[in-house]
Symmetry: C2
Subunit: 294 residues, 2 copies
């Protein structure tokens, strides 16, 4: 295992991206569909969710290979949600990470279907992993469908849309982010630890950790929309400002948002200590997430 | 088991619709999402696919209950595909089965998310069925993701779009329908028989049966677009005529299309005989499908 976080992340980004390519290239499907799925899967994502999943696995076990199919499935789910989110009927974004969005390169119909395809295929990837037994596969599929579906991310998207043009309080804001972003982070942390044979008690503390990590992620997103660097972020800033949508800086001021984020970091680290994995890369990743500039 | 096909179908429609309601009503999710998912699930579908799955199960075993979760999951997948298919970026349909389409009642963003929600939830429904063991769940999830995803239905949608404004030959037409319609029918027949403990040989013949049944389904759809009754069908006829899209009547003439359908019916029935289930309701359903008027 590489000794510093950057090497660690780069090491696994290479492995994850190789596996994404393997899983998609072997599909014998119509070319425009494959091209569209591949385009978004390779459009410069930071792979934070799959790295989290692997880091959570490695907090308890060795050799990432058992965690790889879930990591790739998770990235497929995340990517499908971005494709659908960018559609004209949703956020109507032309660019993401400095690249044209899927429906701008292909067309809207293809983008909708590429999203549907990635979502569906993510379950097939897990179901076919020869390294997992049936019990593990079912546990992961339960968790993935629950955290990404109507009870989780999809529900969060609806709440986010409803909040678009009105003000929310801090509690409502947290609920939106818990579902929209937090649930997939929970999947990453839970699944990694589950496959690594964490105890029930450890899994409970890690859910607590995932909860705070999801919030850190989102507060930092809101902070970057005010203070970030457009070139690094690959998107136009101040977009939150233009809508009436509530954000942490708007509700708490920029200093208040930073203060809250630091509280979340403390809570996240405490949860890791209680789970007895404070010497894992999850600790460094928490720090990394809270300070990321893109 | 009711003695005639109409009673048989009505009997199971009631059971299937009750289970759809059970599965959706228990979701604690944002109201617009739930309403939108429920609206399309209850918008007058004929439940042909879930009935087929149960009939296939009952060709080999008693008591439909083990087949119910897969039937409902299949209907969710079918319904999500209709919601996305009706979107302005796809077929842009305002009505389906005489009722407003999902995005006309709600909005496009909600319709996209309701489709995503149903698709994702279908896997959760299977994964949580207490009547199935883990091996069965994984086998079904493999089959469902494969037949409904990029390798199956989603791939068929892309081919169908590509064929929209150009002429296809009979072979290309069959390939589109095999993926777009046939794969879910294959799922229905295979899963029912698999759960009913059919032998490998029987499963093979049933796959052959499903192949012909899917084609019967589609030829009849094309025939109804020319000769059907708008009131019964709940949609405007002649829509195929307006696009350049190839259909069976256009390639073969209306008599040729009927002749081909009858050949498929013979082949389908022969496959049932080889599987030794010629006294099951699958036989009656084949007849029913080939003669349906809506």
């Amino acid at each position: 295992m590489p000794a510093n976080l950057t090497d660690y992340m780069n090491h696994y980004i290479t492995i994850i991206e190789q596996e994404i390519t393997n899983q998609l290239e072997k599909l014998e499907i119509p070319k425009p569909l494959k091209d569209s799925m591949l385009y978004s899967m390779n459009a410069g994502g930071k792979r934070l969710r799959p790295i989290l999943l692997i880091a959570s696995y490695e907090a308890f076990a060795n050799d990432y290979k058992k965690a790889l199919s879930s990591s790739v499935a998770l990235e497929m789910i995340h990517t499908y949600s971005l494709i659908h989110d960018d559609l004209p009927a949703m956020d109507n974004d032309d660019y993401r990470r400095g690249k044209l969005t899927n429906h701008k390169v292909f067309d809207e119909a293809t983008a909708i279907l590429a999203g549907d395809g990635l979502l569906t295929y993510s379950f097939e990837v897990i179901a076919n992993d020869p390294l997992l037994d049936e019990k593990q596969k079912i546990e992961i599929i339960k968790m993935l469908s629950h955290t990404s579906g109507p009870n989780g991310m999809v529900g969060g998207q609806i709440l986010d849309m409803q909040a678009e043009n009105r003000e929310s309080n801090l509690q409502e804001l947290e609920r939106i982010h818990e579902l929209k972003t937090g649930e997939l982070i929970k999947f990453a942390i839970y699944t990694g630890a589950y496959l690594g044979n964490a105890t029930k008690e450890q899994l409970q503390y890690l859910e607590e950790f995932a909860y705070y990590l999801g919030l850190i992620f989102q507060v930092q997103d809101d902070i970057l929309d005010v203070t970030g660097d457009e070139a690094k972020l690959g998107k136009r800033l101040g977009s939150d400002e233009e809508s009436k949508k509530s954000t942490y800086p708007r509700l708490l001021g920029i200093d208040g948002a930073i203060e809250l984020k630091n509280q979340y970091v403390t809570s996240a680290k405490n949860a890791l200590k209680k789970a007895e994995v404070e010497d894992s890369y999850l600790m460094n990743l928490t720090e990394h997430f809270s300070k990321r500039d893109h």
